[in-house]
């Protein structure tokens, strides 16, 4: 299907996609999901819940310049050494690592058409306590030497993102209360510090340490999580869940002219959805539609009310570049006051428009044998109910349905 995007203003093209109930062995158990979401606690007053059970994006408050504080721990493990730098002078080593952190942050703040600009970030501070990556302190911290018990076999790095499901919520240690549902109050990234066989090299040190992981690539990906991204199912995206092999890096190195060079268009579009720029006049296109089964009997019987395929990965390919512009995990919609409806809806937003701009849409229904909620969605990211929250109001309750049976897809034009 081609959807020509014309005009300066947002247009929405409805697309109907029907799936034949045939086996397609390449049909995959899709798990990509671009952005984190939070369902408000509807047992609270509307002043705290916002009055809607629709899933809200999980993101930082960027309404105030410098609101996203930044800290990194200069405590580096020495036995073994896991962070490799070209500069061996202790001060030079710290400067080199700090430059990588700044560069990785610049990748995300270098995207046009978003509110996540450099001014949204506070000055990068240094810390030197052993437990600085603490989720209670409200500091967004990067740690290279904190041997957290969360590390296990194969875990190289991880990011813990703490968000609130009510307005006015504070972290245990205090700090500014949340101003909206889904606001990120703390985001810490930890790198594995204790495995002598696992090292991370700065771009300057990587050529001489080809068995090391590229520090910049992994950090940029982890910072994507800290800004509210989940994983993307697009090959080559920064938020693709699989890291580059040791000695390699994701995408292109950032430059002064192209600070966001390592990102894919999928990453950029996701960031524009998370932190939309009010003055962005270029990325105002949208394509929406629904993913429906040719045979409604293929839909799950329980929970009741499922009318479309959930979930399905829907991808927009830019015909001009041949690249993926956006990919979303779709299959639900929500109108205030909620809850989410599993009707097969998808919406690809913040697409570049222009007189010659056109996109092709690809969709892949989930055919996995297990409940998607077991794997991807946190228990309360789309739905909450009396099972997850005793006393939950019935009118705001929903249950994430199981994945559908195997499908193959056939796309037809919508009305």
């Amino acid at each position: 299907m081609n959807a020509n995007r014309r005009g300066k203003y947002r247009n929405t093209i409805s697309v109907g996609i029907a799936f034949l109930f045939l086996l397609q062995v390449t049909a995959a158990y899709t798990g990509a999901y671009d952005l984190g979401t939070t369902v408000a606690d509807m047992t609270q007053a509307a002043s705290a819940s916002g009055g809607t059970s629709c899933p809200q994006l999980t993101r930082f408050d960027v309404s105030t310049p410098g609101n996203i504080n930044r800290l990194w721990s200069t405590l580096l493990n020495t036995g073994p050494i896991t962070i490799l730098t070209a500069d061996q002078d202790p001060d030079g080593q710290l400067d080199e690592i700090e430059a990588v952190i700044e560069q990785s942050l610049s990748v995300w703040t270098g995207v046009s058409g978003t509110l996540l600009q450099p001014s949204a970030l506070g000055a990068l501070q240094r810390g030197d306590t052993t437990t600085v990556c603490d989720s209670t302190d409200g500091l967004n911290t990067i740690c290279f030497g904190q041997n957290d018990p969360g590390f296990t076999l194969g875990v190289l790095a991880f990011t813990v993102v703490v968000s609130a499901d009510t307005i006015g919520e504070q972290l245990p240690s205090g700090g500014a209360p949340s101003t909206f549902v889904g606001e990120i109050l703390d985001a810490d990234t930890l790198f594995l510090p204790s495995n002598p066989n696992t090292t991370f090299a700065t771009p300057a040190a990587l050529p001489s340490n080809p068995n090391s992981y590229d520090l910049e690539s992994i950090l940029t990906h982890e910072l994507g999580h800290s800004f509210g991204f989940n994983h993307s199912g697009v090959w080559g995206a920064m938020m693709f869940p699989f890291a580059p092999a040791p000695g390699q890096f994701t995408g292109s190195r950032p430059t002064a002219q192209s600070p966001d060079a390592p990102l894919s268009d999928d990453d950029r579009t996701g960031l524009r959805v998370l932190y939309p720029g009010p003055t962005d006049s270029a990325h105002i296109g949208a394509i929406s539609g629904s993913v429906l089964p040719a045979n409604p009997l293929a839909l799950p019987i329980s929970p009741a009310g499922v009318t479309g395929i959930f979930p399905a990965q829907v991808v927009a390919l830019d015909n001009a570049t041949g690249k993926v512009t956006a990919a979303v995990m779709a299959g639900w919609s929500c109108g205030d006051p909620g809850p989410a409806q599993f009707d097969g809806t998808f919406s690809l937003q913040h697409l570049l428009v222009g007189t010659s701009r056109s996109y092709q849409i690809y969709a892949e229904p989930l055919d996995g044998p297990v409940v998607l909620g077991n794997v991807i969605y946190n228990l309360t990211s789309l739905c909450r109910n009396s099972a997850t929250d005793p006393g939950w109001p019935a009118q705001y309750a929903c249950t994430v349905p199981p994945s559908a049976a195997p499908f193959s897809s056939r796309i037809r034009a919508g009305p």
């Binding site: 062995v25 984190g36 302190d137 703490v162 499901d165 992994i218 699989f242």
Partner: protein, 187 residues
Amino acid sequence: MRIRKRLILSLLPALLFLPAVRATTLARLSLDQLAAGSDAVARVRCAGGESHWENGSIWTVTTFDVVETIKGSLPRQIAVRLPGGRVGHLTAAVDGTPKFYPGAEAVVFLERSRAGGFTVAGWVEGTFRISRDTRTGNETVTQDSSAFAVFDAATRTFRAEGIRRMPIEEFRARVAAAVARSGEKTR
């Protein structure tokens, strides 16, 4: 159904081996590496879980009934600790950790946690969900880290990776072989 079986069988050689699975936070792990790096491997059934604050972080402790031990020695019930969870109005999200819900069954590769109990080795890489066909009763196994369908713009196709829908007997045999190769005792 026959066509479906043939197609699946034709893909089995590719599915039987762990592909280059390397989640961003995870190193590439083969079944042999998982088996060698684990203190225990077991088929478990989730009995419940709870999240709490501990040393500045939110942790979720899930209790499992041990259905079958494939490697190591385990009591009838074990506790598995993973970072992340929800406490009160705060949610700590850690991408790459498996989520378990009461009644769900899985084969998990377990590593003793420094903080007590066990953790899942390799997180989503060491978690293999069990699904039962309601008509035939046949059980299959799907690895959590195979959850991602990859869209390749060059070929304009989606493709799957990892262990997916493998018959549990086949999977059990592969794990047992991997455990044997790791030089550990099984029971």
